[in-house]
Each structure stands twice: as C-alpha cells, then as structure tokens.
C-alpha cells in the first residue's frame, strides 16, 4: 500500500494537457471548472467528435474526457477508436469515457478498444481525481509489462506480472488476467489454464470462465467448452466474447445452423465489429442464406472504412453473394474495387480465385476456365510469393474443378513441403487429390514432397550439431527460400542464428535476420512455445533489450500487414 500512497503524492495533474469532448456547453464549462479546481491550466474543448479529432491531431493530450453520446456524427467510442488507430493518443495518456448511465459496452468483455475508465454523470471532483489517480497508477504498474508485450517477449512479460502481484494486491486480478493472456501467446496453455482455475477459486469472473473454455475448445473438448460459454451468457447477456466463442464451438462441431443463430445475436448486440460481421457473412454464405450474408458483408465494408480491421474478405464475400444473385457484373466490380483498394499480389490472386468461383457457381464454365488459366499464368511467374495455406487449398480446388491440372498439383506439393509434419493438413490435401481422381498419384506426391522438406531440415540440423554454424546458417537461408512457410525450418533457422550469436556475441545483422524469421513464423502460426523461448533468448543477447525486437516487429508489420492477434 505504501507504493500507492506515494504514487498519489507524485502526480501533478496541474501540468497535464486536457481535452474535453462534449456536445453540451454546460457540461464542458462544468468539467473545465472541475479540472481547474484540480490545478489544470491547459484545457482544450471540442463540441463534436469531428472537432475533437482535429484537436487530437494537433496536440498530444495527457487526459481526454470524452462524452459517449455526442449527438449527431461520431459517438465517443468511435472517436476513441479512430484516435487510437491514427496513433493520436500516447500509450501513457488517459482516456475517460463519460456517460449518462452504466453502459453495456463496459462489460462486453472483448470490445476492441476500451477506454481506460468509464465515468458516470454527474461528475464530481472527488470521483474525477480518484479515477485519474487510479488509471495513472495502473498504467505505471503495467508499463514495463506492456513494453515487453509489444516486444513480443512474452515470457519476460509474464514474469513481470508475477513480480507485480505481491506488491499490488489491488491489481492482482488484472495482472493474473494479463499473465494468462501472455502464457497463451507464448504457447503455454497449461500455465494459462492453471491461472484461470486459480482466479475462479476466488470469484466467477466471466473472462476467466471464457478463457478456460477457449483452452478446452482448442484441446478438443468442444462440448464442455460450449456449455461453459452458454453458462457465461446465461449469467451476463452482454458478454459478447462468449457469443463469438460459442459460435466457434458450434462451427467446430459442424453445427452451422446453431453457430449462425449465435452470430446473429452477437451481431445484434454489438454490430460494429468487422471480424464478427465477416464471420456472420461467411457462415450465412455457407448456409445459403444470401440476404443475411449480403447484409453482413455490406456492414463489414461500411464499418471497415476507418478501422484497422478493414478486410478484403468482405469484398470477396460480397462478390460471392452477387454471384448467387446472378449479378455477375456487380460481383466483378467489387473484385476490381478490392484489388484497387487493397492492392498486392496476394489480393490480386484471391480476387482471381473468387472470380473463378463466381463464374463456376453461375454455370459459366468457359469464363471460369479462363480465370483458371489466368491463375496458372500468375503462379508460373517466378518472383511471385505463394499465398497462405488456406488460399492455396481454395485455389487448387478451383483449378481442378475448371480442368487445370499441373498448377494445382504444384500448389498441393508446395503445401506438403511447407507443412511436412502437419498430419491433419496432409489428409486434407489428399482429399483434394482424391476428388480430382488423382488419389494414388497424390499419395506418392505428398510422400516425396514431405521427404524433400525433411531432408533439407535434417541437413541443417546435422551441420548445426557438428558445430559448423557458418555453413548451417547458409544452408538454412537456402532452405528458407525454398520452403518459406515451413514452421520447423523457420524455427531451426532462428535457433541456429541465435546459437551463433551466443558464441560470437551480439551482431546486429544476424540478430535482425533472426527477428525477421521469428516475426514471420509468429504471423503464420501464432502461439508457439518455441517462438516465446527464442524471443526470450534473443532479448537477453540484445545490448538494448526489447528495442531491436520492437523496431523489427513494426517493420515486419509495415511490410506484411498487421500480425493478427489470437
């Protein structure tokens, strides 16, 4: 407790920069008066969300007091989201959301952008000061943890949580929650599970129940997980995260109708989530419910406009909807719009696949074949990167369907080489061969592809074990080039680079190379224990801990798009 008391004494709220956003002039005056009584000198005011955004773009405020209900235009939540997306608020600044009554958003559990605190009118100085101090202190406690998290040094971040718990009993629950999240990121579901169970001994926190159920779901105990999500919803009808997870549990059991119902309810409760509308649209499409799919994808495109979650999937989904409605022209227009807006080889390729699917589904086999031929030509270009596994599978399926043969075989072998020890995926690949009446050839092709990958990996391991690290590093570069998505090769590659650094001491180029490899593998298969271990080893080698990793991480994201959060 002494640290808390000390912290109170240290904060000088008088020197901070404040922004008040409220459409009601009386409230603005009142809040300004209250802030002045706390000693504040620098106070700006905005009467609308738009005006607030303009001021936020000019000045880095320490404290923002924003009304949730701003009349016409943006609401407070949208102002907050846009400000965070455009990086107009510092991580250290405090965002207080002011509302007339207790908002449902405050307990939804997974709102993408939560304010630091909600505060209910009428605001008195005492409450304002208490909340400001509380948020400030919490930010102090989490500052180092958040930094390690941003550096993807999950193991260190989790240890920092552990260290803070005994000195900050008031935040023990928040720290445990963060620790569990970090353990999941670090590929330690058993550790996270233990944390959730420990918390649940104290109280029935819905986030802990959901967290536990998610782990059960990943472990294949889907029915048990389903019941837990349902229990959370029965307890709190607004806990939106439980709805999203429940839908996934139903999907995993092949109960698409049930998943669809749950997603529709979730979308009604909280319609402004891009991923939720996308999942709803895709599920509706699977069930041939074209009106709902159309509505969901349209909404997804609308709300994605200003969101970091903006997704090209919505355009592809909408194009499929147009195909089902026999409006080919509009479908093709959407695909062109997607290519125009998102750009890149990957999007162009996926647009072409979707085009082929739309033609194929509407029975225009001639144009579908033409799309297939164009895809084949695209794949033949040497310098083009192959897309992710799911897209490759879609593409192979389509190409076989329109009668192309060589290109899809090449794609499936590519998948086999890059995932040589992923048995369920190999079964999926075999099924596609079977469907194309190439069952026997498929068995042989998969076998030889897997062997090719295993040989490459083994050669690297052999060089490493015999302590020929320089040669091992060179060989792994060759292997990485040939198999850019093979998780085992990527991890070994990073491991060998780190071994080298441990021998020679820190070398910037090698460390950067290792980080780049690790960022790539974390983007394609997040939540691997080896990722967390190697990041920690690397962080310990770096002269300035963390900074290098953070820079590399943001460079990686700038070049390849945001690394998805699980």
């Amino acid at each position: 407790m002494t640290t808390i008391v000390q912290a109170d004494g240290e904060i000088d709220w008088g020197e901070k920069r404040y922004l008040i956003i409220d459409d009601f002039v009386g409230i603005r005056q009142l809040l300004r008066e209250s802030l002045r009584n706390l000693g504040a000198k620098h106070i700006d005011q905005a009467a609308s969300g738009g005006e607030g955004m303009m001021l936020l773009a000019k000045t880095r405020y320490d404290v923002v007091l924003c009304d949730y209900n701003l009349g016409d235009g943006k609401n407070g939540q949208q102002v907050l989201e846009e400000a965070r997306l455009r990086n107009l608020v510092l991580p250290s600044s405090v965002w207080l959301m002011v509302s007339a009554e207790k908002s449902v958003e405050s307990v939804m559990g997974a709102a993408e952008h939560q304010p630091d605190a909600y505060i209910i009118k009428p605001i008195t100085e005492g409450v304002l000061l208490t909340r400001l101090n509380r948020v400030w202190l919490k930010k102090q406690i989490f500052r180092e943890i958040d930094q390690a998290y941003a550096d993807k040094d999950y193991l260190r971040a989790a240890r920092l949580c552990e260290q803070q718990i005994p000195v900050n009993p008031l935040h023990a629950i928040d720290l445990l929650r963060m620790k569990a999240t970090l353990q999941l990121k670090a590929g330690d579901p058993l550790g996270a599970r233990a944390v959730y169970l420990k918390v649940l001994e104290e109280r029935d926190y819905n986030w802990a129940r959901c967290g536990l159920a998610k782990i059960l779901m990943h472990d294949g105990e889907v029915e048990e997980a389903q019941k837990m999500f349902q229990a959370v919803i029965a307890d709190n009808r607004f806990y939106i995260d439980a709805f999203d997870q429940l839908a996934q549990a139903f999907q995993l059991q092949g109960k698409h109708e049930e998943a669809f119902d749950v997603l529709q309810k979730a979308a009604k409760l909280s319609p402004n989530s891009v991923p939720r509308q996308r999942t709803l649209g895709q599920t509706a499409l699977k069930l041939d419910n074209i009106p709902v799919a159309e509505k969901a994808f349209r909404k997804c495109i609308d709300i994605g406009e200003y969101s970091v979650a903006k997704t090209v999937d919505a355009y592809f989904g909408m194009a499929r909807v147009c195909g089902r409605k026999n409006d080919i022209k509009e479908g093709i227009r959407l695909l062109n719009a997607a290519v125009h807006q998102f750009g890149g080889d990957h999007v162009t390729l996926r647009a072409k696949i979707t085009e082929g699917l739309v033609y194929h589904e509407t029975g225009d086999f001639r144009r579908a074949r033409k799309a297939g031929d164009e895809l084949e030509a695209m794949l033949a270009e040497e310098n083009r990167q192959r897309p992710d596994t799911a897209t490759c599978l879609d593409m192979a399926t389509l190409l076989f369907a329109v009668g192309v043969k060589e290109a899809p075989v090449g794609l499936l072998c590519y998948i086999a080489r890059n995932n040589h020890d992923n048995v369920p995926l190999m079964d999926e690949v075999q099924k596609i061969f079977d469907k194309a009446r190439m069952g026997d050839e498929g068995v042989e092709l998969i076998r030889s592809s897997r062997k090719e990958a295993a040989d490459m990996m083994n050669k690297g391991v052999l060089l490493w074990k015999s302590d020929r690290l320089g040669e091992a590093i060179d060989w792994m570069r060759v292997a990485r080039h040939a198999l850019p998505h093979n998780m085992r090769i990527l991890f070994n590659s990073a491991q060998i680079l780190i071994s080298r650094l441990q021998q020679t001491g820190y070398v910037r180029e090698l460390a950067d190379e290792a980080i780049e490899v690790l960022m790539h593998v974390d983007a394609i298969v997040p939540g691997q224990p080896r990722f967390a271990q190697l990041m920690e080893q690397l962080a310990m080698l770096a002269p300035v801990s963390g900074v290098v990793a953070a820079a590399a991480a943001s460079e990686y994201e700038a070049a390849n798009g945001a690394v998805p959060d699980r």
Partner: protein, 263 residues
C-alpha cells in the same frame, strides 16, 4: 434465455433510442444544475463556511448560517437536486433490470479507501452546506470485490437520506466482517420509525418470498431507494452467499443506521 434476449431487443428499438437520448439530456441538466450549485456553495461567503468546520458546535453553525438565508436556500436546492439524481439513477437501474442477467453488472476488486473517497467527494459540499459533520472509519488497505457504480449509488443515497433525518452528524464506516464487507451509514437523528425497520429486514432477507415485501416499500417515500439498494445487495453474490441490507436504530451515534453487507 434466448427468448428473453430477442424480446428485449425486438420490443421497440425506436422507443429505446428515444428513452436513451432523453435520459442523456436529463442527466446533462442535472449535472449542470448540481455542479453549478456546488460551485456557488463552495464560493459562498466566508462567514457561512467559517462556521462549518467539524469542531464548531451545532448551535454556532446554525446561528452563522441563519445570517445567510441564500446560502441555506442554495443548500436546499442542492439537496433536492441530489434527490432527483438519486431517483433517476435508481429508476434507470431498475429499468435496465438490475439483478437480472441483462444488467451490465461489473464486480471487480476495488480499494475501500477509494470507495470512501469517492462517496465523500460526492457528498462533501452538500454536507457542508447543511452544517453536518461527516466522519469516516475504514481500513485503508482493505480490498473488496463489488460493482463500484452501484455501491456508490447506494451509499450516496443512504447519506442523502441520513441528511434529512440526522441532527448534525453522519458516520460512514466500512469494515471486513468475516466473509462480508459491512458498510454502515449512521446518524444521530431520531432513528427510523418501527414500520421502516421491518421493511429493511425484509429487504435484507433477499429470498424470493421476501421480494414481495418490495410492494410494502413503495408505500413510503423511501421505497424506491430501499428497493434499489436491496436489489444491488442481492446481485452481489459469492459462493451461494448474497449481499443484504438492513435498517437499525442505535449504532455509534444513537440514531438511524443503514447497513449494506456484501459477500
């Protein structure tokens, strides 16, 4: 559960939006009204404030303040505004079905010291303006799990109620009593009438049968507040134990005591 949900939302979205924006307006008006009154009272003539400190005997306070009828009237206005705000908070919570799964109930660990600070901060000017001495008694490092907004609402309401009936003193005390947190608002007035003591006990039982007693609350002016408080108490539950409220006479100041117990 699923039927409830669809009914809740398919009922009448326009009416819901309309109500929400009206509530927003009303809250703004009350905020400005009570904020302005607080600022006026805080800046009121030194004579009135000088007499207010806790050490001054009650007689001296009322003498000093009778010289300032405007000050007293402002105090009365603030008191009435707070009552309006209390009732609005309570009606809103009940409209949102406090106690049911639809209510955004959010119990997390809080520092008891921060709770007391915030309650005190909300009541301070009003208490001063009425010349009432306010004392607190709590363990500064205690931590308890509860829904902060709801519990502040209950305590501020209890204090506003005590302001009406006390002679000149109110105490807010919080202590950990075994597996409960006990929060008491006590005054040195004449205490609750016997009929009210019964109502409090009923509310405190918090069993389904006793909820019928809610009808009895509404026969007097404290009905809504007590009903709200008992629902808030009941919503707090831990390992099959629920919170409760009680009304007593006596306590450390010999007047009325409002008691909220949270598991």
């Amino acid at each position: 559960m699923d039927d409830d949900l669809s009914q809740h939302y398919q009922g009448s979205p326009e009416l819901l939006m309309f109500l929400a924006s009206t509530v927003h307006d009303m809250k703004n008006s009350i905020s400005v009204l009570s904020g302005t009154l607080e600022h006026l009272l805080a800046a009121a003539p030194a004579a009135a404030l000088a007499a207010a400190p806790a050490a001054a005997p009650a007689a001296a306070q009322s003498d000093a303040q009778s010289d300032e009828p405007q000050y007293l009237q402002l105090g009365q206005m603030l008191y009435q505004t707070r009552r309006l705000n209390d009732s609005l908070i309570q009606l809103l919570a009940l409209y949102k079905e406090v106690g049911k799964p639809g209510y955004p109930f959010d119990p997390v660990p809080h520092s008891v010291r921060e709770l007391v600070e915030q309650v005190q901060g909300q009541a301070r000017i009003l208490l001063q303006s009425r010349g009432i001495t306010f004392a607190t008694d709590f363990a500064p490092d205690a931590i308890w799990t509860f829904d902060e907004e709801l519990v502040i609402g209950v305590l501020v309401h209890a204090i506003n109620n005590a302001i009406r009936y006390t002679r000149d003193r109110i105490v807010l005390s919080v202590r950990v009593d075994g597996e409960h947190l006990e929060l008491r608002v006590e005054d040195n007035g004449d205490g609750f009438p016997p009929a009210m003591l019964g109502a409090g006990a009923n509310a405190g039982n918090a069993t389904r049968a006793a909820r019928g007693a809610a009808v009895n609350f509404s026969n007097n002016s404290s009905g809504l507040g007590l009903y709200f408080s008992s629902e808030v108490a009941r919503m707090h539950s831990h390992r099959q134990r629920h919170g409760s409220i009680a009304l007593e006479n006596g306590g450390v100041l010999g007047g009325g005591c409002f008691i909220l117990r949270l598991p």
